[in-house]
C-alpha cells in the first residue's frame, strides 16, 4: 500500500471509530439486539487496520447520508473467513 494513501481521508470512506464497551452496551439495550444482529466488517480492512480495531469490537461509522445529512451505523469486526 502506498505511503501517501490514507484510506480514511478518501471521500467515499466514512469516519470509523471504535466504540467503548459502555457505548456498545447502550446500543444493544436501546435496540434490544445482540452483536450477531449487526452488519459485519472484516478485521483486515484498510480502515479497520488504521483505527486498530480487533475482532469482536464494534465500529461506529459516521456516514454522510443522502437523506438525513449525517447517519450513524455500526459494524461488528469479524475475522475474514478462509476460502
Amino acid at each position: 500500500m502506498s505511503t501517501k494513501l490514507n484510506v480514511l481521508e478518501h471521500v467515499m470512506v466514512p469516519d470509523h471509530k471504535i466504540m467503548s464497551e459502555e457505548e456498545v452496551g447502550t446500543l444493544f439495550s436501546t435496540y434490544k439486539i445482540t452483536s450477531e444482529h449487526l452488519p459485519k466488517i472484516y478485521h483486515d480492512e484498510p480502515a479497520v487496520k488504521i483505527i486498530g480495531a480487533k475482532a469482536g469490537d464494534v465500529v461506529r461509522t459516521i456516514r454522510t447520508s443522502h437523506t438525513a445529512g449525517i447517519a450513524e451505523s455500526y459494524r461488528l469486526v469479524v475475522k475474514r473467513p478462509k476460502k
Binding site: 500500500m1 502506498s2 501517501k4 494513501l5 490514507n6 484510506v7 481521508e9 478518501h10 471521500v11 467515499m12 470512506v13 466514512p14 470509523h16 452488519p39 459485519k40 466488517i41 472484516y42 480492512e45 484498510p46 480502515a47 479497520v48 461509522t61 456516514r63 447520508s65 443522502h66 437523506t67 438525513a68 445529512g69 449525517i70 447517519a71 459494524r75 469479524v78 475474514r80
Partner: protein, 387 residues
C-alpha cells in the same frame, strides 16, 4: 431566531439535514415563541409521519420501486457517455452489473482527480497522465527485425523519451524484465547500449524464423511506461481543474502515482473499491453508481430504495450479489431451491445430507398445496410466546 431557539432545534431528535434546513429557513425571520413552538411541533409530527413504520416490508417496496422504472430502460445502450469519447456501459446492462457484483465491470473506467498544483496546469496534468497510460515499446522508437543476424533491434527515439519524461536507461531496464514477467516469454537474450539508445533482442533458439517473429511481437507490445491495466487516458478540464478519465482501472497503482489526489479519485469497479478502500466505501460506490446509472436514463428512483439494496449487499463484510449466489442464495428450503434450478441435483443432495424442509416460505407451500404464510411477521418478532 434567538440562540435559545437554535438550542431547542439542536436538541430535537430530527435528522441533521432537517435541522439545518429549519435553521436556515428561520434564520432571517422574526418569530414569537408561540409560533416557534408550533413550527417545531409541526416539523416533528411531519418527520414522524414520513418515517417508515416498524415491520414494514421495505424489501418488496424497494424491489417494485426499482423494478418498475427498470422496465422503462433501454435494453441495450452502449453509447458514449459524453465524457471525452470514453465508452462506458450504461443503462440496464450496467445496472445488472452493479447488482450482480461482477468482479470486473465490462467497461472499467476511472476518474482521476489531481492535486492542486498538477490539476491547475495542462502540461503537468499531461505529465501525470503519461505515468498512468500504458505505453508500448513501439511508441518510443523504431523496431526492426534483422533477419541476417537473427535479432530484433530497437532504436529508441530520445526526443520521444524526453517528451514523455522517461530516461532511456529505464526503458532499457524495464523492457526485457516486463517481457519476462508480464508476457511470460523467456526464451531470449538481450544486450543494450544506453548511449546510443539501442537494445538488441536475440531468441535463444536460432533454428527458425518463427521464434524471431514471435519475439518481435513481444518486443513491440511490451508496456514500458504507465500502468498495465489502463489502456487510455484522456485529460479534460472540468470546473477549473484538469481531470483524467481512463479506460481500464487499477485503483491501487494509480494511488501510488505522484500528483494523484488520493482523496477524490474513484473507479467504477466496485470490487476494487471494496478491496482498496473497504466495505463502507463499496457501499457508497454502489449507491453512487446505481443512482447515476438510473438518473442518466432519466429515471428517478428514491435513493432510499437503492440505499437498502446497497446495505443488503454489504451486510456481511464483503460485496454480495443480489442473486442466487449472494443474498437470495441462502434460502434454506430444499423445495424452493429445487423449484429454481437443477431440480434433481438439489433433491438428491438434500436427501444425502438428511436436510429438513420447514415449509416456511412461499414456494415450498405452493408446491405441497398448503396456504402460504403471509404478512410481515411482526407479531412473532415483538410478542414473546408464553411458556
Amino acid at each position: 431566531m434567538t440562540p435559545e431557539q437554535e438550542q431547542v432545534i439542536d436538541n430535537e431528535t430530527l435528522p441533521a439535514k432537517t435541522k439545518e434546513q429549519l435553521k436556515k429557513f428561520l434564520s432571517e425571520k422574526n418569530i414569537s415563541d408561540d409560533q416557534f413552538e408550533e413550527i417545531i411541533e409541526r416539523v416533528n409530527s411531519e418527520y414522524m409521519s414520513t418515517r417508515i413504520e416498524a415491520c414494514e416490508a421495505v424489501g418488496v417496496i424497494a424491489a417494485q420501486s426499482i423494478g418498475e422504472p427498470g422496465t422503462q430502460m433501454t435494453m441495450r445502450t452502449f453509447h458514449y457517455a459524453g465524457v471525452a469519447e470514453i465508452n462506458v456501459t450504461l443503462g440496464l446492462p450496467r445496472l445488472i452489473e452493479i447488482m450482480d457484483a461482477r468482479k470486473e465491470p465490462s467497461t472499467p473506467t476511472m476518474t482521476i482527480y489531481l492535486e492542486p498544483e498538477f490539476g491547475a496546469d495542462r502540461d503537468r496534468a499531461r505529465e501525470v497522465s503519461w505515468q498512468i497510460e500504458a505505453a508500448t515499446l513501439q511508441e518510443f522508437g523504431d523496431i526492426t527485425i534483422d533477419m541476417q543476424d537473427m535479432q530484433v533491434v530497437v532504436h529508441l527515439n530520445s526526443a520521444v523519451c524526453e517528451k514523455r519524461k522517461i530516461p532511456v536507461g529505464t526503458i532499457i531496464e524495464t523492457a526485457p524484465r516486463k517481457i519476462r514477467e508480464r508476457r511470460h516469454y523467456r526464451d531470449f537474450e538481450h544486450e543494450s547500449d544506453e548511449k546510443e539508445g539501442v537494445i538488441n533482442f536475440m531468441p535463444k533458439s536460432r533454428e527458425s524464423y518463427q521464434n524471431l517473429f514471435q519475439l518481435a511481437e513481444h518486443v513491440r507490445k511490451v508496456i514500458v511506461q504507465g500502468i498495465d491495466d489502463i489502456e487510455r487516458v484522456v485529460v479534460r478540464k472540468e470546473s477549473g481543474e484538469y481531470i483524467l478519465y481512463t479506460e481500464g482501472s487499477n485503483l491501487k497503482d494509480v494511488f501510488d502515482v505522484e500528483g494523484v489526489d488520493t482523496r477524490r479519485t474513484r473507479t467504477n469497479n466496485i470490487n476494487e473499491i471494496s478491496q482498496v478502500l473497504g466495505i463502507e466505501a463499496a457501499r457508497n460506490a454502489i449507491i453512487h453508481e446505481a443512482v447515476s446509472t438510473l438518473n442518466e436514463q432519466g429515471i428517478l428512483v428514491d435513493v432510499r430504495h437503492i440505499m437498502l439494496v446497497a446495505d443488503m449487499m454489504c451486510l456481511e463484510g464483503e460485496v454480495k450479489q443480489i442473486g442466487r449466489h449472494g443474498i437470495a442464495g441462502e434460502k434454506e428450503s430444499v423445495l424452493s431451491r429445487a423449484a429454481f434450478e437443477v431440480t434433481v441435483n438439489h433433491l438428491l443432495d438434500a436427501a444425502v445430507a438428511n436436510e429438513v424442509d420447514e415449509l416456511s416460505g412461499v414456494t415450498e407451500n405452493v408446491i405441497v398445496g398448503q396456504p402460504i404464510q403471509l404478512g410481515t411477521g411482526d407479531v412473532k418478532l415483538i410478542a414473546k410466546p408464553m411458556n
